[in-house]
């Protein structure tokens, strides 16, 4: 799943959660969240990503890819980088799951 917003902040956290829920229920298996376009994440946005993780349940993974410096900083400071598997890029994440990158 690719996030097509520059920010996941308090202003769109609820919308993000709703959209994630709608998309996640249409597919099975692990989900990679491509955050390459996201240049800002605050604690509300982080809460929404955690909520997304919990929504998938213990049996499905949520992994993150393409973290910009501001997003990476939040993950480090909150130690959420110990909870989520983080890939450098979406293609690296897909390759790790044996999926060829889409053209």
């Amino acid at each position: 799943m690719r996030v097509e917003s520059d920010r996941i902040d308090a202003a769109i956290a609820i919308q993000f959660k709703d959209m994630f829920r709608d998309m996640a229920t249409t597919v099975d298996g692990p989900v990679v969240l491509d955050l390459a376009q996201v240049t800002f994440l605050d604690s509300s946005g982080l809460g929404a990503v955690v909520a997304a993780r919990k929504l998938l349940g213990a049996d499905r993974a949520l992994e993150l890819a393409g973290l910009n410096p501001a997003v990476e900083k939040v993950m480090q400071l909150t130690r959420m980088n110990t909870v989520f598997l983080i890939h450098d890029t979406r293609d690296a994440a897909l390759a790790a799951h044996g999926v060829a990158p889409a053209a």
């Binding site: 800002f40 809460g47 501001a70 400071l77």
Partner: protein, 162 residues
């Protein structure tokens, strides 16, 4: 614009020599959308000044946390009320002051950082909130709060070489 007034302020005694002098003030209504828009605009100004990226990341994050706290807690998410922000870049530091007319902080003081032992937690027990004050305390080099009359005043600073 808001009806909130800033008291005149001076840099603290003994501050290092001035490298940049720059001041910015903005007043917004207490909504999440206005916070988001104000921060995008402020960041564009500061990028234009050529400030260090890491300091700007820290500042935007800290201001998002404190301003959304004002929206959600001081004004109880009513959307009614004003928030005034003043940013001064001076002496290798970004100084920020926030004023609002909302409810005071709990017990009249700054909330502490909350710490979680995430690695010991079950996935489904992970916290979805409570990170804000930890981020604010971690990223600021000074932080103070006072209630004067019906106003909350929060002052903080971020080092430009953080």
């Amino acid at each position: 614009m808001t009806n909130l007034a800033f008291a005149s302020r001076k840099p603290p005694a003994g501050a290092p020599p001035l490298i940049i002098g720059w001041c910015y003030r903005v007043g917004i209504s207490a909504t999440r959308d206005q916070v988001s828009q104000a921060l995008v605009q402020l960041n564009q100004h500061l990028i234009g000044l050529g400030l260090a990226r890491d300091a700007l990341i820290a500042m935007e994050l800290v201001l998002a946390e404190v301003m959304n706290n004002i929206v959600e807690h001081a004004y109880c998410d009513t959307g009614q009320g004003d928030v005034a922000l003043e940013v001064i870049v001076h002496s290798n530091t970004i100084w920020c002051q926030l004023i609002d007319n909302g409810r005071p902080m709990p017990d009249g003081k700054l909330p502490p950082a909350r710490h979680y032992d995430l690695e010991a937690m079950d996935i489904l027990d992970l916290p979805e909130g409570g990170f804000g004050w930890g981020l604010i305390h971690d990223l600021t080099s000074s932080l103070s709060y006072d209630r004067s009359g019906a106003q909350n005043r929060l002052s903080l600073s971020i080092d430009l070489d953080c």
